[in-house]
């Protein structure tokens, strides 16, 4: 990647790294055995994943009735988890695509992990629409595929079908974007490794990367194009997800504000999750010089902004409910805040509106411990936001005789936990086997924020062809 300089801005990488240091810092851990902390984290995650997998197996064998749903509340944890995970993914795409197009250089040290997070979150999310069906073995009927049953087609008017397109599209583009961005780094690993198997594997997946000027040029063009392709997804995917609710007739669901509201919420929650992950990663993987307090601060600022949008959405919703004059709509929102599940609403408001306000203080923004705690609170708040929208709207809709409550079962909880198990298992595997930081990109900003006088001439390395291609 082209190297960029700035004497005005803060440095993005600390500790006077040389290119060789960067390569060593990123690739080194992949070539050694895993650390104890990785193993502990991995075993815990896999344990939780197995718990979730057993719950899912039990549910598929027994029926959706093992969840706490009922005839009035047909969706609760399942679709909440789905929307939550999809939302998480959005920060990754925003960081890797939109910030790339906006030339926000600080993204370089977090974009790889953030994208990985996107993909794993979308995988976690994608499980729920399949699992929530009564007959998951027929979930493929949601795909418009040629068949001999008529042929039977899907219902293109159904937002669930739109969802299916949106999610599969999102997963494909994100995976492609992530993978393409990783190719130069895969080649670096290929070139460094001593194991024949790794050489072969990474050789295959790096597409015979030769590091030539022409390769870099093409690579950068492709990366730019993919960034352009991924950018609308940040807006479209969660917009489409919100249509599941917005196009319905249920008070509390049926509102036009949902698309922007969901997108802002998605970015908000995604950044919280990126923070949660990055704060662990920089500590555990010794990447504090790459993911600096400056990065954390930046992300906190995004959270203040998106949190503000979410707060605005909450208030707009309340106002519109009042202003619409629609008694069902009014009641839905009064009930949300003051009804039997009012506490969930206040958890949501507390975590999503109050908590981000703390980020106005620089001291808080630069305190990783506090930021970590707050980021988790925001994650909780955003899970509750979806839960509030989905569940409380369903509990009390039009006919009072059909009103009902919802109580989660053990399986509801273990399935939710299991999705976290899956997410962290995938993320830990990623951290163990793939470069967590975009080596090539970080090298481009290594001298960012440093004065001209500090710039040392580059020393070409023998084994890595990468540095030679850097355009000065």
């Amino acid at each position: 990647m082209g190297e960029v300089f700035s004497v005005l801005r803060q440095p993005l990488v600390l500790g006077n790294k040389t290119y060789a240091d960067i390569t060593d810092d990123v690739c080194g851990p992949l070539e050694k055995g895993a650390s104890l902390s990785w193993w502990i984290a991995f075993i815990v995650s896999v344990g939780v994943l197995i718990l979730g997998a057993l719950s899912v197996a039990y549910q598929v064998m027994t029926g959706v009735g093992v969840w706490g749903l009922n005839n009035t509340v047909g969706w609760a944890f399942d679709i909440t988890n789905f929307v939550f995970w999809i939302g998480i993914g959005h920060a990754g795409t925003l960081i890797s695509a939109i910030l790339f197009l906006f030339r926000q250089r600080w993204r370089t040290s977090v974009n790889r992990s953030a994208e990985a997070m996107t993909i794993f979150a979308v995988i976690c999310a994608g499980i729920f629409p399949i699992l929530h069906t009564g007959r998951p073995w027929f979930a493929y009927w949601l795909l418009p595929y040629p068949n001999f049953r008529g042929p039977l087609w899907v219902n293109f008017r159904s937002p669930l079908v739109w969802d299916m397109f949106a999610i599969s599209c999102y997963l494909t583009i994100s995976a492609l974007f992530w993978y393409v961005g990783m190719i130069p780094d895969l080649a670096t690993i290929r070139d460094r490794t001593k194991s024949a198997l790794r050489k072969k594997l990474f050789g295959f997946f790096s597409f015979g990367w030769d590091g030539s000027n022409r390769t870099w040029q093409r690579y950068e063009k492709l990366y730019l194009l993919l960034a352009g392709l991924a950018t609308p997804l940040v807006v479209s995917v969660h917009t489409i997800v919100s249509w599941d609710f917005a196009t319905s007739v249920i008070p509390g669901w049926h509102t036009t504000i949902l698309p922007p509201y969901f997108v802002a919420g998605a970015v908000f929650s995604g950044f919280a999750m990126v923070l949660t992950l990055m704060l662990i990663v920089r500590k555990v993987m010794n990447l504090e010089e790459y993911i600096t307090l400056h990065h954390i601060e930046q992300m906190c600022k995004v959270i203040i902004a998106t949190g503000g949008m979410v707060g605005l959405a909450y208030m707009t919703e309340l106002f519109v409910a009042y202003y619409s004059g629609n008694e069902y709509e009014r009641f839905a929102f009064i009930n949300r805040a003051l009804g039997p599940y009012g506490w969930t609403y206040w958890v949501m408001v507390g975590c999503n509106i109050m908590v981000p306000q703390l980020f106005w203080w620089k001291k808080i923004r630069r305190n990783p411990g506090i930021v970590f705690a707050l980021s988790i609170l925001i994650n909780v708040g955003m899970w509750f936001e979806r839960f509030v929208i989905i569940m409380t709207s369903l509990t009390r809709d039009y006919l009072p005789a059909s009103w009902a409550g919802f109580t989660p079962t053990i399986i509801d909880l273990t399935t939710l936990l299991g999705s976290f198990g899956l997410f962290f298992t995938l993320f830990l595997l990623f951290a163990r086997f793939l470069p967590m930081i975009a080596i090539g990109e970080v090298k481009g900003v290594v001298r960012y924020g440093k004065g001209r006088s500090e710039l040392k001439p580059l020393e070409p390395r023998k084994e890595g062809a990468l540095e030679q291609t850097l355009v000065g």
């Binding site: 039990y58 027994t62 029926g63 959706v64 009735g65 093992v66 706490g68 749903l69 009922n70 005839n71 009035t72 047909g74 969706w75 629409p129 929530h132 069906t133 009564g134 007959r135 998951p136 027929f138 979930a139 009927w141 949601l142 039977l152 087609w153 899907v154 219902n155 008017r157 159904s158 937002p159 669930l160 079908v161 299916m164 599941d244 196009t247 319905s248 007739v249 249920i250 008694e327 069902y328 009641f331 009064i334 009930n335 003051l338 009804g339 369903l394 009390r396 809709d397 039009y398 006919l399 009072p400 005789a401 059909s402 009103w403 009902a404 409550g405 079962t409 053990i410 399986i411």
Partner: protein, 1001 residues
């Protein structure tokens, strides 16, 4: 011959003229032939395909038998639908003069008891299986000995409505020196009969003609729900409240009661009094009416509260104005009270008009006095042989421990029962009785209307009717068929002078299911008012701090005889909406004071030893000093329902291990002045600290939003249109919600070129009796899901009845609204289904395609009426025998798919095929969905909205017609008709602040 049932009278030709041809016909008719051949018992274990197909039977085409319902003693006419040799549904017989096509929930649910594998199979001798020869020998030896010694032989039965059985019992007992027959009804109306003995000189139950009455005053009589003959009374009540066409009439119904009964929930005016006040109110009414009749009353006028006095004066005025066209009924089993009611009805000239004593009812013949004598005899040890049939004295009578001990001392005790119950457990000999659909039987429940029951299936169990057994013991050995035929030839045929030959008469009756003959000419004395000294009836008011306990029968269990019926156990009580339990109902305010919450287990303690522990239910509209408990629960063997419902990690069994469904409240019954007393027992209540969650199909009970913001009540939702009759008379569209003109930007998706099905439900007619719920369950193979699943709000019944409590001018107003799939023209469910599993058809049906459904439940979420039901599990459907009740026309749904009301699409198809075969077009009324068919109130109209002449089209043009949530633009095909009640306008209504009229949130 009505068009509903096909020609099959020939098939029932007498067995004596047996030809090969008729044999085949008979074989086709469910092998009824074997039943005709007498007492032969054969075991048919394999289904054998027809080698030669009987002419009348087309596999897959249903055929019908006319029969008589025996689920209670009312004796409604039924049509039994058979498919391929097995009965699958019971419906009301529209031609039957008692029930006129209506059939209650219990009658329709009786079909499932037929396939109950726990019914007795073969006789029991001393508790172990035996053979008929052995038990016959045993009984006859003992009887011979008793006959020689001149010992007392007693029959203890419920009301015997069968003339044949009655005759046989009489003949049997006559063969002994000391033989007597005692009848009692576990939910007794004996005092009514005794009162007529006292006032009219004849112990009879009059036939109440609600259709003739313009003013109805009911004192604690739940005549629309459980009292004597609810279907007949509902039909009559409905006929007296007709808003259609020119024959508009509207009776005024006042309910004076202590708990909220189904009847009370429908009343125009409801007065909440405690049970001891009922007598005072009645005396006061007698006094008020007497003074209007220019006579002085015998009874002293009690002092009543002013607001009560005002209301009674109003009632007396109304009664007097409509004298001869009014009706006062009383459900309290108290002789003094009933005598006063007779006096009132006589003062008003209602006898011979709204009350028929010339052709009385035989629906309840129980004699509590006789019962008391019999019990005394049994306890004194003088009874040598006791035969028990149709009742369960060790369950439904008080003091069962002493009685059980006395029973064990009887030399020969024979129980005729369908299953081993509390009583037959102690009997030496248990004679299993066939289900009503397996046997011949007859019934005269109203003088002059004699009905027949005929077998519709080869008996599934090794059983023998009471009549056959008596015939054997009398040394005659006649089959049930012969016995009835002989009896009919001897007596019933003589009472009719139309047919020449008995065979023609018999065949016609068998086809129709009933025959109208001359009544038996009851001679009644005219009432001598002056000679009448109303027996003192001054129930002592309950002590301070105590409560008056009211025991009542529930609409599902009656006296407990249907406790083994899972459909009825899972049918929500029409008022409380609770399933699978009985409970003590307590007024909300009192419960709040005592700190009792819904589902708290409480102890009910009488002044004597009586003690019950059961959960509490907070009930609006209940008198503050009254606790009420339903009878019929806690039956032996109901622990079987531990297996009902799906099994999974957090499932709770419907019945806790070692427990029964509910508790038996009959232990708190007592005899008072020679009658079984159900009300006004003084009890105390105390919390135990335990909880027993009650499962209810409805969690929120008001049309008014909960007041979450504080400061005033919430908004009332425009779901039920309601108005007073006065306002309706002025403006037929009174009470209508504002109509919205909804314009669409889109062209109509659907053209509806041919038919377009629609339904109208008249909320003024609907009483909430829930017959339609069971009709739908039977028709559409809806499984029972168990208490836990209902508690989790996962009941599967396609049709529910929403019951709302509302506070109107300080008084409780109750409304019932049947709610099922509205078959919307712009169905929100259809657009959201990703796989097109729910689609609109060209005739306006919203169809659910089970095998395409993947179960996203999006459709259910997006349904504004929440009428879609999901198969959360693979629900167990009982054993193989139980599954025989399934309707082959309707798919049995697997787990993971959505289901809902289909407008009985299978019936639509059948009617179309029939019309096509007959080369005609469909006529209005050809298609009746299951809910409509048996509705005792005729509240449901179904038909083609494209046919301008159809009844549904006419209903839709009525000003009362409206659609629920019309403003959403979903264009439902079901509409409702404004609920009209003859309530007073708010200005003229006294501002009586009745107790317990709170709203239960």
């Amino acid at each position: 011959m009505s068009h509903e049932h096909h020609d099959h009278d020939e098939a029932m030709e007498p067995v004596q003229e047996f030809s090969r041809r008729s044999f085949l016909k008979l074989a086709g008719f469910s092998f009824a032939g074997t039943a005709l051949a007498g007492c032969q018992q054969s075991n048919l274990e394999n289904a054998i395909p027809y080698l030669l197909r009987p002419e009348e039977i087309t596999p897959g085409v249903p055929y019908w038998f006319a029969s008589t319902c025996r689920a209670c003693s009312a004796g409604c006419g039924v049509l039994v639908k058979n498919r391929d040799g097995r009965p699958i549904k019971i419906e009301g017989n529209p031609a039957h003069p008692v029930s006129r096509g209506g059939l209650c929930a219990i009658g329709q649910a009786a079909i499932v008891s037929l396939y109950d594998s726990q019914r007795l199979n073969g006789p029991l001798l001393k508790g172990s299986p035996s053979t008929w020869d052995q038990v016959d020998a045993e009984v006859m030896t003992e009887l011979a000995a008793i006959k020689n010694s001149g010992g007392a032989v007693r029959f203890l039965t419920g009301s015997v409505t069968s003339p044949t059985t009655r005759g046989l019992i009489g003949r049997f007992l006559a063969s002994f020196k000391d033989g007597r027959h005692g009848e009692y009804d576990p939910v007794s109306s004996s005092a009514i009969l005794d009162a007529h003995q006292y006032t009219h000189g004849s112990r009879l139950l009059p036939r109440f003609r609600f259709e003739q009455a313009e003013t109805i005053v009911s004192l604690d009589a739940d005549f629309l729900g459980t009292w004597i003959s609810p279907v007949e009374f509902t039909k009559g009540y409905r006929a007296g409240r007709s808003l259609e066409g020119s024959g508009q009439k509207f009776s005024h119904h006042t309910q004076i009661e202590s708990r909220l009964s189904l009847t009370g929930s429908n009343a125009d005016e409801r007065i909440i009094v405690s049970p001891d006040e009922v007598a005072l109110v009645t005396s006061r009414l007698v006094a008020l009416v007497s003074s209007r009749a220019g006579r002085s009353a015998h009874s002293v006028s009690p002092n009543l509260a002013e607001h009560l006095e005002n209301r009674l004066t109003g009632i007396a005025d109304r009664l007097w104005q409509t004298r001869g066209r009014s009706l006062i009924v009383c459900g309290t089993n108290d002789l003094g009270l009933q005598v006063q009611v007779n006096l009132l009805n006589d003062l008003l000239g209602n006898y011979g008009k709204t009350i028929d004593v010339e052709n009385p009812s035989y629906q309840c013949r129980g004699d509590d006095g006789e019962l008391t004598r019999l019990i005394d005899e049994i306890q004194s040890g003088s009874v040598q042989a006791l035969f028990v049939e149709g009742v369960n004295p060790l369950y439904d009578l008080p003091d069962s421990t002493a009685l059980k001990e006395a029973f064990s001392r009887i030399r020969l005790m024979v129980s005729f029962a369908e299953r081993v119950d509390e009583t037959s457990e102690t009997a030496r000999v248990v004679m299993p009785q066939p289900h009503e659909l397996e046997r011949w039987n007859d019934a005269e429940t109203v003088a002059g209307i004699v009905s027949l029951s005929q077998p519709t299936i080869q008996p599934l169990r090794d059983t023998r009717t009471l009549g056959e057994s008596l015939s054997v013991w009398l040394g005659e050995r006649h089959g049930a068929y012969d016995l009835i035929r002989q009896e009919w030839e001897r007596s019933v045929f003589r009472r009719r002078n139309q047919e020449r030959s008995f065979t023609a008469f018999w065949n016609k009756t068998l086809h129709d299911g009933f025959v109208e003959v001359e009544g038996q000419g009851v001679k009644v004395k005219s009432l001598k008012r002056d000679a009448l000294h109303p027996r003192s009836s001054s129930p002592k008011p309950v002590a301070e701090g105590a409560f008056a306990l009211v025991l009542h029968s529930s609409l599902t269990m009656l006296d407990g005889r249907h406790a083994h019926n899972p459909w009825l156990q899972e049918l929500a009580d029409p008022v409380t909406k609770i399933v699978w339990d009985n409970y003590v109902s307590i007024s909300e305010t009192v419960a709040a004071n005592l700190g009792i919450g819904e589902g708290d287990v409480v102890t009910i303690q009488t002044e004597e030893k009586g003690r019950l522990e059961l959960p509490a239910h907070l009930q609006p509209g209940q008198h503050d000093r009254v606790l009420s408990i339903a009878l019929g629960y806690g039956r032996k063997g109901t622990d079987r329902f531990i297996d009902v419902g799906p099994k999974w990690l957090q499932a709770k069994p419907t019945v806790a291990p070692g427990e029964l469904v509910g508790v038996n409240a009959a232990t708190l019954l007592r005899f008072e002045n020679g009658e079984l007393a159900y009300t006004n027992l003084s009890v105390t209540i105390a919390k135990t600290g335990r909880k027993h969650p009650l499962a209810s199909t409805q969690e929120y009970h008001s049309l008014t939003n909960p007041d979450l913001l504080g400061g005033g009540t919430g908004e009332r939702r425009p779901i039920i249109q309601q108005t007073s009759f006065a306002a309706y008379a002025k403006d037929p569209s009174a009470g209508s919600f504002r109509k919205h003109e909804i314009e669409s930007l889109w062209p109509d998706d659907h053209q509806y070129d041919g038919h377009r099905w629609g339904m109208a439900i008249d909320l003024s007619a609907c009483t909430g009796c829930s017959a339609c719920v069971i009709g739908c369950q039977a028709e559409n193979n809806i499984p029972v899901v168990g208490k836990d699943e209902v508690g989790r709000n996962r009941e599967l019944q396609w049709l529910r009845i929403d019951r709302y409590y509302d506070n109107e001018n300080g008084e409780l107003s109750v409304s019932h609204q049947p709610m099922m799939c509205q078959h919307c023209g712009n169905a929100p469910c259809e657009t959201v289904c990703p796989v097109l599993a729910t689609v609109h058809d060209s005739e306006g049906l919203n169809q659910q395609i089970y095998n395409r459904c993947v179960g996203t439940r999006y459709c259910a979420n997006n349904c504004p009426y929440k009428v879609r039901h999901f198969n959360w599990f693979e629900y167990p459907r009982g054993d193989e025998l139980h599954r025989m009740v399934l309707n082959p026309d309707v798919t049995v749904r697997e787990r993971g798919v959505m289901e809902k009301c289909s407008f009985c699409v299978q019936r639509i198809q059948l009617a179309k095929i029939e019309a096509k075969n007959e080369g005609r077009s469909l006529r209005d009324g050809d298609i009746q969905p299951a809910c409509q068919q048996s509705c005792p109130a005729d509240a449901i109209t179904f038909g083609d909205m494209n046919d301008p002449e159809s009844r549904i089209s006419r209903a839709m043009t009525e000003p009362r017609f409206y659609r629920v949530l019309e403003e959403l633009g979903v264009r439902p095909s079901i509409g409702y008709m404004t609920l009209v009640r003859d309530t007073e306008d708010s200005e003229s209504r006294p501002s009586a602040n009745e107790k317990g009229a709170g709203i239960h949130g």
